[in-house]
Amino acid sequence: MKYIWLIILLGIFSSCKQNKSDNKASANKVETAQAIKINTDSIQLDVYDFNGFKKFLNKKDDKIHVINFWATWCAPCVKELPYFEKLNKTYKDKQVDVVLVSLDFPHLYETKLKPFIVENKLTSKVIALDDVDMNSWIPQINKDWSGSIPATMIYKNDKSEFFEQSFTYETLENEVNKFLK
């Protein structure tokens, strides 16, 4: 019985925690880039269909690859982007490679996505995945992924984990560290 109480307490605790962080997410809602005059000439955005994108999921180079699926319109995604940026900077020497995969609508690449990259000074690699037949490729990334974002895949050679959730810097770092061991 002790254990059941423990589980329940943990359950209550974790759900409260999640609500709290989610509320915070809305309060801190980062402004998405406006269609104003921002010079985006320096931004080279590679756009892939799923076939072209697959190569990012199958690298066997002993590096830890952190693949984050996001979009400028997704508030919880935008909220956690700084953690991926920090991870990329902090762990660069430790063979960790971050790729931010934008699922923004293609007609907004120029007016939303590129200005967002410039304004937020993103230093991680940003690519765009544009493939409408989502039912064909979502299960190929992870069979349990329902398709909600943010979502993140972390892999090293043949070992892979998938997270359909938001991260804090601590929880993200913790997951990456499991691959470092």
Binding site: I4, S26, F105, P106, N135, E164
Partner: protein, 204 residues
Amino acid sequence: MKTPFLVSIMIITFLSDFNSNTTTVNDSYKIGDVVSDFKLKNIDGNMVSLSDYDDAKGFIIAFTCNTCPFAKAYEDRIIALDKMYASKGYPVIAINPNNPMAQPGDSFKAMQMRAKEKGYTFPYLVDEGQHVYPKFGATKTPHMFVLQKTKQGNVVRYIGAIDDNYKDTSAVKTKYVENAVDALLKGEEIKEKETKAIGCSIKV
């Protein structure tokens, strides 16, 4: 004897409560499950339940909202589904699962305005307290569930996307929801019972 008896009653009560809690979190509806009815507030202020629909053969449940770009991309197609299938016994019931505290653009007032602007022909319900969407296992907007009314209750027959092209209605190759409802109307097996699509996570 008395105390252990009381304690065991408490334990049983508590365990059953605990079980129902986990049901909502982990054991969301799968294909073939009977759903429990809900009673949710519509934008006109009236409460709506599945049991209100005496003549329905089933339902097209759409978890959707005002704010998600994918939900917006599919608004007109959800309206079209209701126009096409309500008269055939499969009306659309839209449910907004987002907490307006977390997503102000999905407030009751905003829902009323959006439904008016778009001319919604179906109820647009508020999942107040966010209790219904976890039972369905909805994770995002838009997220569709086709139910069939049977003697056992309303059975989940399809879960997933509306079709295979959010960008361009005219370029759609497979209309998943239409195919599912058509199959049910003909008494045939649904070919694709579950599909995946990118959507906005539900804001709680």
